[in-house]
């Protein structure tokens, strides 16, 4: 094995004496606070255009069927209907399929339906009610096909293929040790592999443990529905969309409808939550198509029930084979991860890449061999979801690490401490260095929960235990370029222009704080431009916890660039060296004396004034030695600790205390950051204990509505719920910041399972951890104890 290389740029030491910061590190009110608490904030759901029609779609009630015929004649004649589009009505010149790496999802079904909820035909009418009434008149004649409702059914030898032919798809370039294949076998759309070290390492191990874990899927449950309004009359296409990545959406619409990108405008008002779901095409292809066909603006807004059928998290089966020495040293891990991709590939290949890559966790290994497969099933398409494969792998890996420790008679804390990577160690050969002190972080949560002082009372029927876990993912996205522009007007007002969507994470505020800090102005001097693809510099999307660590670096560079311009200009006007000048409180300072900008600007540029403007760009440099072709921008780490009380009579698990902690590097806005960490941790707790989509073996979603699908409420909060923001200062972003927002979802489920094992000695390997599962495990434990003399 070649010696590990540390990428020094990835590891920034916190300056010994940090100059006091005036804006960054403080928690002023969010820039969107007034709009949001007064109800004035505008979301895509609020967009209304003159003459606007409303779209609705007919969704398949069959999980897998060939479409024999569709009779839409009566619907076309129904009152208020402008157009009905079936697969046969699609214009010949368009490319009707969309997706990320693989273009397999049609705007409306062409030959078959592949899941309950698949779009069969679309209607544009005067009102939503008229559209719905018309859809009731459509008659579809189906021929049912065998259903593959889950991973096992889809991989069975006699399973029916969801796709007879290979859809158009690409495999991106990978670096050392990584590879992928399209359609390696029936009902697998993509397989990612990563391998490093020598498989012979297993032969040297004292123990090899094989365990299987199951991960259930959640729906995103963003409160603002999927919605778009499209106006594609004439030769321009305008789209208002509740969307996380407006520029890739523009590119995809251009490809599908064969329009030049410079005649498509995507605008994104406030987004009412996304959690990954609102990446790429969702409602937009339908609204654009119907607008083109009717010559009217068209709004397409899904119900929450339709949202459940549009995009989900990935259910998964994870099989880990882990070789260790008797002293607990981790040596080798082979894994097979099967992701339930649903009926269309959507973001699944990207999630497979990440799940496959993240399965080693934050530990030192000699050998890793991983395969991650996207299995196509007759269920709703799965895609990006907060944690992006890392939630699945942290669940399995941190559960198994704990199991191995207990099998070897080593405290799980000790086994982790022995094997964790050190600050600066590359994750795998060719990767960037780990930018958090993992041991320090683990001690923070252990200390808060009192892990080392825990006691057990085996006589009680209410048994307490504690578990710990470390969530781990590479953050910032792969090959993710970000551009930003900062302008300063004559009067010293600052314009920040970048494509990061305000989806709740606080991007407008945090990126404005960075800008204000660098330019020496109060926060209210910085305005964040509305999202419009015509005017903003390019950005790849609001995802992968990239707002601060990736876009933040572009913003930092733009702000420094425009500051340098202003100072150089002022220096020329004042006849001094630029180095002798500073910006402070919106004016140029020379030897402590303020020089307002406006008179200097107008003297030089004339009375109409001028705008200074600079662009900033950031992208992690490509490097073929990095397995994913570019070293990871930052490592998103979160430590979790749970104390549970298990009722051995009922199997009920009560989380008495939950501690979650992420390392933000540097918190740009501590209050907003805490909100992100709270929210992600509670999403993880919900996944651990109850929240999941329940599919039966016929592909029917049994809790497909808001009343029966249970999300966490305030009453579900543990009595003692603590999030701790660590600021270790090693991040690559502005002022030592790392990304945040996903981390604390990662360690929660495994921390809870580990705590249950600590309390009652049974291991739950299947999510969610329901009372029935716990009770079953307790009963089996009792049977086993009684049968062993």
């Amino acid at each position: 094995m070649k010696p590990p290389t540390v990428a020094p740029a990835q590891l920034r030491d916190r300056p010994a004496a940090t100059p006091p910061l005036k804006v960054v590190g403080h928690s002023p009110p969010r820039k969107d606070a007034l709009e949001k608490v007064t109800g004035r904030a505008v979301y895509s759901t609020d967009i209304v255009l003159p003459g606007m029609l409303h779209a609705k779609v007919l969704r398949s009630a069959r999980a897998h069927a060939r479409i024999v015929s569709i009779d839409a004649a009566a619907a076309r004649q129904a009152p208020g209907v402008h157009v009905v589009v079936t697969g046969a009505d699609l214009p010949a010149h368009i490319m009707p399929f969309y997706g990320y790496f693989i273009k397999d999802q049609p705007i409306v079904a062409l030959d078959k339906v592949r899941y309950i909820g698949d779009i069969v035909c679309a209607v544009a009418a005067q009102t939503e009610a008229a559209a719905i009434a018309a859809l009731r008149l459509v008659r579809v004649h189906y021929e049912d096909l065998p259903v593959a409702a889950n991973i096992e059914q889809a991989l069975a030898d006699d399973a029916r293929a969801l796709f007879d032919d290979a859809p158009m798809g690409v495999v991106p370039a990978y670096g050392d040790g990584a590879s992928a294949q399209l359609r390696p076998r029936k009902n697998v759309c993509y397989q990612f592999n990563y391998r490093t070290g020598d498989a012979a390492a297993f032969a040297r191990c004292d123990h090899v443990f094989e365990d299987e874990f199951r991960f259930s899927r959640m729906t995103h449950y963003h409160l603002e529905p999927f919605v778009s309004v499209a106006d594609a009359r004439g030769d321009t296409m305008q789209v208002w969309a509740s969307c996380q990545n407006p520029f890739p959406l523009r590119k995809e619409l251009a490809r599908m409808f064969k329009w030049p990108e410079n005649r498509i405008t995507v605008q994104v008002p406030f987004v009412g939550g996304g959690f990954g779901a609102k990446n790429n095409v969702k409602t937009e292809a339908v609204s654009v198509l119907l607008s083109m066909l009717t010559g009217r603006p068209v709004r397409f807004c899904l119900t929450m029930e339709e949202g459940f059928l549009t995009n989900t998290q990935h259910a998964a089966i994870l099989r880990l084979k882990t070789g260790v020495m008797a002293d607990g040293r981790l040596v080798a891990r082979q894994s097979e991860i099967l992701l339930d991709a649903g009926a269309y590939s959507d973001g699944s290949p990207l999630v497979a890449e990440k799940a496959g890559y993240r399965i080693p966790g934050p530990y030192r290994w000699e050998h890793i061999d991983t395969a991650c497969l996207c299995v196509m099933t007759n269920t709703a398409p799965a895609g990006p979801f907060r944690g992006f494969g890392g939630t699945q792998t942290s669940w399995a890996s941190e559960s198994q690490i704990d199991m191995i420790a207990r099998r070897l008679g080593i405290d799980p804390y000790v086994l982790r401490m022995r094997n964790l990577l050190h600050l600066g160690d590359p994750f795998v050969p060719g990767e960037s260095g780990i930018d958090s002190d993992l041991r320090q972080g683990l001690d923070v949560v252990c200390e808060e929960i009192g892990y080392h002082r825990r006691t057990h009372d085996p006589r009680s029927t209410l048994r307490r235990g504690m578990g710990i876990a470390i969530g781990f993912k590479d953050g910032g996205g792969v090959n993710k370029p970000a551009q930003a522009r900062v302008k300063v007007s004559t009067s010293g007002d600052v314009f920040l222009q970048c494509g990061t969507v305000e989806i709740g994470q606080g991007a407008r505020t945090a990126l404005s704080q960075i800008t204000a800090e660098i330019l020496g102005v109060p926060l209210d001097k910085v305005a964040y431009a509305p999202i419009n693809t015509d005017y903003l510099p390019f950005d790849q999307g609001t995802n992968a916890s990239s707002g601060i660590a990736v876009m933040g670096q572009a913003v930092e560079r733009a702000a420094r660039g425009v500051r340098d311009q202003v100072l150089a200009f002022a220096a020329s006007q004042l006849g001094v060296e630029a180095g002798a000048l500073q910006l402070g409180n919106g004016v140029v300072l020379h030897a402590g004396k303020p020089h307002p900008l406006a008179p200097m600007v107008m003297r030089h540029y004339g009375g109409t004034g001028f705008e200074f403007s600079a662009d900033g760009f950031f992208k992690a440099a490509s490097d073929h030695h990095a397995p994913l072709e570019a070293p990871c921008v930052f490592w998103e780490i979160a430590w979790g600790a749970a104390e549970v009380e298990v009722d051995t009579a009922t199997g009920q698990v009560k989380v008495v205390k939950l501690v979650a902690s992420g390392d933000a590097g540097r918190a740009i806005n501590p209050v907003m950051l805490k909100g992100q960490e709270d929210g992600a941790a509670i999403m993880g707790l919900s996944q651990a204990l109850f929240e999941h989509m329940i599919y039966d073996d016929q592909g029917r979603l049994l809790n497909a509505d808001p009343l029966t699908y249970r999300v966490p409420l305030a009453e579900d909060l543990p009595h003692d719920f603590v999030t701790i923001t660590q600021e270790q200062g090693h991040g690559p972003g502005p002022f030592g910041a790392k990304g945040a927002g996903e981390g604390t979802i990662l360690p929660i489920a495994s921390a809870v399972a580990n705590a249950i094992h600590d309390a009652v000695g049974v291991r739950i390997t299947c999510l969610p951890i329901t009372p029935v599962r716990v009770l079953e495990a307790l009963i089996n434990q009792q049977i086993n104890q009684e049968s062993v003399p």
């Binding site: 007034l34 009610a129 995103h220 406030f270 939550g273 709740g504 709270d678 999403m683 305030a714």
Partner: protein
């Protein structure tokens, strides 16, 4: 006037008289119009958000005679004779209501889509229980969904607003 036994009496539209954010309004609405659609589409009070349309998530909550109701799941004609307060009626002359201010101070929202409903729910809560304990807060807040915050900062905002309205805190 609506007849209690047959509120719409076979008509396709009905007259509606209500007090909306303090102002008398006389309206004619289709009988099948929901209260949420009346507010959002007809009156353009879009601060009332539609989340689930099933009366579960609470994004569409307005106060009807002071009581928080899911406007997506009631008919517009049911508002006849009622006093309705939406989020737009809360701040006065550019001055935030103490509940709104508490949500700002505590960072009690992220995407903001649940915020109108949460703020109005909190206002109603504090009118019934001026100094609620944490269990009461959680019980009330659990009638609405926030997918972003994990609720801790919302609970803190309710506590702050309660203290401020009870005059126990000056800032």
């Amino acid at each position: 006037m609506v007849d209690a036994a047959s509120p719409v009496g076979g008509r396709s539209e009905c007259a509606l008289r209500l007090t909306l954010n303090g102002a008398e309004r006389n309206l004619t609405v289709p009988v099948e119009r929901t209260a949420a659609d009346l507010l959002r589409d007809d009156l353009r009070l879009t601060g009332t958000r539609i989340g689930c349309s099933r009366g579960v998530c609470g994004a569409c909550v307005a106060l009807v005679d002071g009581v928080p109701v899911a406007t997506c799941s009631m008919f517009a004609f049911q508002l006849d004779g009622c006093s309705v307060q939406t989020i737009e009626g809360l701040d006065q002359d550019g001055q935030l209501h103490p509940v709104q201010q508490a949500f700002v101070d505590q960072g009690a929202f992220q995407c903001g889509y649940c915020t109108s409903g949460m703020v109005l729910l909190t206002k109603a809560l504090l009118e019934q229980h001026p100094r609620p304990d944490r269990a009461t807060i959680c019980e009330w807040i659990s009638s609405n969904v926030c997918r972003c915050t994990g609720y801790a900062q919302i609970i803190a905002a309710v506590e702050q607003a309660g203290a401020r309205l009870a005059g126990e805190e000056s800032t």
